[in-house]
């Protein structure tokens, strides 16, 4: 597993893995669909998530979307900047718009995530 690989889920989250820590956010497609993000609700540090578990909500004028954990593990850090600057999700979805960092409990789960090509296939079907 190379450092800084980026993977995707069918529910429009992205994952960047470094060692046993995964950084998670939502994709450019997802932020485009939402429009201007007004609020991001994130869990507390220390919360343990199962793969596929809802971990938060992201809200725009248009809609409310749920955030699903792409992996099983413990939340070790959340992006507190998003509380005052939720627009970072729109402006820089793969950078400053990151949401949570998870310490992986099951590293093998990374192998089940979509590659960029795999995610593009999901988008093409929509």
């Amino acid at each position: 597993m190379m450092a800084n690989d980026i993977w995707f889920t069918p529910t429009h989250e992205w994952v960047r893995v470094t060692g046993d820590v995964a950084e998670v956010g939502i994709t450019d497609h997802a932020q485009e669909e939402l429009g201007d993000v007004a609020l991001v609700q994130l869990p507390d540090v220390g919360r343990v998530l199962q793969l596929g578990e809802k971990f938060g909500e992201i809200e725009s004028i248009k809609a409310v979307s749920e955030l699903y954990s792409p992996l099983t593990g413990e939340i070790i850090e959340i992006n507190e900047d998003l509380e005052t600057s939720p627009e970072q999700v729109n402006d820089d979805p793969y950078g400053e718009g990151w949401m949570v960092k998870i310490r992986l409990a099951e590293p093998d789960e990374v192998g089940k995530l979509l590659s960029e090509a795999g995610y593009q296939t999901v988008l093409d079907k929509e």
Binding site: G35, A38, E57, E59, I61, K62, V64
Partner: protein, 363 residues
């Protein structure tokens, strides 16, 4: 799905399209809803509302017919004048909200909501059987472009080569805008000054393009909804429906019970006599880092278990920079300044009852 004659232009201008009342309509363009709202409030917003229904009513009993099916007093309309009105049902609920325009003697136009098109046409057709009137559905021939904002009258004057400010509010005149023959109606749904331009389906693209070149900013349905909410105008299906009294929605001014009998009159008079239990209020959410209130969220007095009302419309207002809502609440909870709570997906959010409108005409 149906398309207006501006569909290609919307797509070319980067619109995100959405299905609305069977029509493929722009919900926003590239810069997004919030930017469009601000563009309208500070300059000129353009709205394709060609999907709305237009019914042309003529005949020796056109006035009597409209007096019978609408709640407002149609007799007050001289040629060129319009009024906001309601189609009420027998139970005193609202079938639709409409604009009635007197075009000439025994000659009227009704503009109605796209979402109520089928229902309204059937209702009109049924009721018209009792009157000497002719009904023509002009929906699919009539294009309608709203030009709204503090600079809207200026643009219309420039492109029409006349002083558009001479057309009084809720009046209409015939003219030619950028070479396109139009009826120019000084009406709108944004709380800004401006006009709505009626033209043929075929000539609408040329008119739209000229308005854009002149500085008009295309605005989608998302912006339209926020603008009308800020101005506290009701939206059918939210503040108005067949089970809500016009009195509850604060529309007693559009109901003239001194008129001779009209559909719903008896029920509405009874409602007034019994007293209205619920009223439409404005709510402003306290704080910024909280959820946006939306239709059907329950409203409570602080820490109470039983709701005192529900949200009918909610949004994040770019104009007043706050989360705002319209809500139906019991009279006791409706005093301006009252602290209430809105339940948004399981979380209680604090808000205050605010004077309406939130924003209209620069204030």
């Amino acid at each position: 799905m149906l398309r207006t004659s501006l569909y290609d232009l919307h797509v070319r201008q980067g619109a995100r399209m959405v299905s609305f009342a069977g029509w493929d309509m722009p919900v926003c363009y590239r810069s997004g809803t919030a930017q469009e709202v601000l563009a309208c409030r500070h300059g000129i917003g353009l709205f394709d509302v060609s999907h709305m229904a237009e019914f042309h009513i003529t005949g020796s009993q056109a006035l009597a017919f409209l007096q019978y099916v609408t709640t407002n007093d149609v007799a007050r309309l001289s040629p060129g004048k319009s009024q906001y009105s309601l189609l009420a049902n027998e139970h005193g609920g609202v079938i639709d909200d409409i604009i009635v325009t007197n075009l000439a003697e025994d000659d009227y136009l009704v503009v109605a909501n796209a979402g109520c098109y089928q229902k309204d046409w059937e209702w009109f057709s049924e009721q018209a059987k009792l009157f000497d009137v002719s009904l023509v559905d002009e929906t699919n021939e009539t294009a309608l472009i709203a030009v709204q904002g503090p600079a809207a009258i200026g643009l219309i004057s420039e492109l029409g080569m006349f002083d558009a400010s001479q057309i009084k509010r809720f009046h209409a005149g015939e003219g030619s805008i950028a070479g396109v023959p139009c009826r120019i109606s000084r009406t709108g749904y944004t709380g800004e000054d401006g006009c709505e331009l009626f033209c043929t389906w075929a000539s609408a693209p040329r008119l739209w393009t000229s308005l854009v070149s002149g500085g008009g900013v295309p605005c989608g349905l998302g912006a339209r909804d926020i603008l009308r909410l800020e101005a506290a105008y009701p939206l059918y299906g939210h503040e108005l429906n067949e089970d809500v009294s016009p009195l509850t929605a604060g529309l007693q001014w559009a109901v003239k019970t001194a008129k001779a009998d009209f559909i719903g009159k008896r029920s509405i008079v009874e409602q007034a006599e019994q007293g209205i239990r619920d009223v439409l209020v404005g709510l402003t959410v306290v704080g910024e880092r909280v959820s946006i209130p939306r239709q059907d969220c329950s409203v409570y007095t602080p820490s109470a278990e039983a709701p005192v009302g529900r949200v009918t419309s909610g949004t994040l207002s770019p104009t007043v920079d706050a989360r705002i809502a319209l809500a139906l609440v019991s009279r006791e909870a409706s005093v301006v300044g009252t602290s209430l709570e809105i339940d948004i997906r399981g979380r209680r959010v604090e808000c205050t009852v605010t004077k309406l409108p939130f924003y209209r005409n620069g204030v």
